[in-house]
């Protein structure tokens, strides 16, 4: 690992100043992604600013009935919190479906939002990768791309966004609160992550000197009836091939509320707006679910290695909605 200097920030102001004064500085949360990437030589910060002592590890109710999650809340605590389990079960399930118990004990909410892709060419410094080295090409497009995206892709990069948590946050209309020396701003999940386009190395709306301080979940009657489904190569401790976060409200047989997002299939946590549009006001039937899934996947483009994900995603969407309709939430 390339040597770096280490600072532990006691408060937010110190953390913000440390990165504002030093373009080679990076925040360190649980370290489960950053330490790995530093060891592989892909991230090479001059200064590591440890933010785990910041007082941002609380989960609390907001006056409007929503919930505010501090950026330093560990993934395991988030999943186990009574408010999240009862009101946003899809978020508990999504977090529990990711990584392992050890990693979830270390990983923070902020770090999970900013984790980088698991594309094997990105990790292999001898391979071409536009994300790691802009302009060098993409090893995955003509190579091994079983894990890669079919939605939101570009000619420059097809890396799938790896997070489970973010898929649930997208379905729940979460808002990310970020702070820098310039002040505080709020970024909706839908615009937090950026599709690769011609600049796959730019992954989020965040500037390097901005700190994620919290995630806000709006109040939502739909969210209580929600589920996460993850399809992967082994039963546990594997990234998603396809995943679905869904919240559904049905009255008198008609869909009156829906939040839907997909993971594993897209370059960003994928809010399924076409499917939501097709579902709202439609009868809550298998046929509507299937039609909504088809609408969402219509623009998908597969390669020989990953085209199977398109039908897999259609089926996963349909099955998740069906289960929500027949069994309700896991809360």
């Amino acid at each position: 690992m390339r040597p770096f200097s280490y600072v532990s920030a006691p408060d937010v102001a110190t953390a913000l100043r440390a990165v504002a004064d030093d373009p080679g500085a990076k925040f360190l949360g649980g370290g489960t992604n950053l330490v790995d990437l530093m060891r592989a030589g892909i991230e090479q910060p001059d200064t590591v600013v440890d933010i785990t002592s910041l007082p941002l590890a609380e989960i609390g109710e907001r006056p409007d009935g929503g919930v505010r999650i501090g950026a330093l809340v560990r993934n395991s605590r988030l999943a186990a919190h009574p408010l999240i389990r009862a009101r946003y079960p899809v978020l508990s399930q999504a977090v529990l479906a990711g990584a392992s118990a050890q990693l979830r004990n270390m990983a923070t909410v902020g770090g999970n939002l900013l984790q980088r892709t698991r594309c094997p060419y990105f990790y292999d410094r001898t391979a071409a990768c536009n994300k790691r080295e802009p302009g060098s090409g993409c090893g995955a497009i003509g190579g091994f791309n079983r894990g890669h995206a079919v939605l939101g892709v570009s000619g420059a990069c097809i890396a799938a966004h790896p997070s489970d948590m973010c898929v649930a946050l997208a379905a729940l209309d979460a808002v990310v609160e970020v702070e820098s020396v310039r002040g505080v701003r709020r970024v909706p999940m839908a615009s937090f992550h950026r599709p690769p386009g011609e600049t796959p190395h730019v992954e989020t709306d965040l500037s390097p000197d901005e700190l994620v301080t919290a995630v806000e979940l709006p109040p939502s009657p739909t969210a209580a009836n929600s589920r996460y489904r993850k399809v992967r190569d082994r039963a546990s401790y594997a990234f998603a091939l396809v995943s679905v976060a869904a919240a559904l409200e049905v009255r008198d047989g008609t869909v009156t509320g829906v939040g839907l997002a997909l993971g594993g299939v897209a370059t960003t946590p994928w809010r399924a707006r076409r499917a939501e549009h097709a579902l709202l006001g439609a009868p809550a039937t298998e046929e509507s679910f299937r039609r909504a899934a088809e609408a969402e996947l219509a623009p998908a483009t597969g390669l020989p290695g990953n085209a199977f994900k398109i039908e897999m995603a259609r089926r996963a969407v349909t099955a998740t909605l069906r289960r929500l309709l027949t069994e309700g939430s896991p809360a």
Binding site: L28, V35, S76, A86, L96, A101, Q102, N105, S236, P330
Partner: protein
């Protein structure tokens, strides 16, 4: 170099380390506590599992400097000076190991897992998220222990050992 004051198995140790040294390397190379194993060094196998304030973590992805002042427990601390921990005995009785390389991590992980389960934390296979204390079925044990790989495939014995130990603890 930074001065890192670690607290490991109840004893204080002050080490001068470059900040890039992992907790795993500090334990093995500086403190001579080689019970904790290095499998992948990438967070993917669980061989390096230790407890930090009673919670299981992967020490390979932990910078030692970040864990200063935390109470670290390794397999040496769990075993103690006497006849060993009853969970170790349960692993032996139930053939919960073959080569033994993953075993320290399995045992530290199982102890952390039982504490999580005891605190009512759900898992990915828990059917009712809000129910108090999911029963510790074999499916629950397997899911909760999925962060510990065993290349020898001693999984059945590992699950048997944990189930037996958990049942004995519940009776005490």
């Amino acid at each position: 170099m930074v001065e890192v004051r670690l607290r490991v198995n109840g004893a204080d140790a002050s080490l001068d380390l470059p900040p890039q040294v992992s907790l795993l390397d500090a334990l093995r190379e500086r403190l001579g506590l080689t019970g904790t194993k290095k499998g992948c060094d990438q967070g993917a196998c669980g061989a390096c599992t230790v407890l930090a304030d009673g919670e299981r973590i992967n020490s390979c992805l932990a910078l030692a400097v970040q864990y200063a002042g935390r109470e670290i427990t390794t397999i040496e601390g769990i075993a103690g000076d006497g006849p060993g921990h009853p969970l170790q005995a349960a692993f032996v009785r139930n053939d919960g190991l073959q080569c033994g390389y993953c075993t320290s991590g399995q045992i530290c992980s199982a102890i952390g897992m039982l504490a999580e389960h005891g605190a009512g934390m759900p898992s990915a296979v828990t059917e009712h998220l809000c129910a108090d204390g999911a029963e510790l079925t074999d499916d629950e044990i397997r899911e909760r222990m999925s962060g510990n790989l065993c290349r020898c495939g001693a999984y059945n014995g590992i699950v048997d050992a944990i189930r037996e130990f958990a049942a004995a603890e519940a009776e005490r």
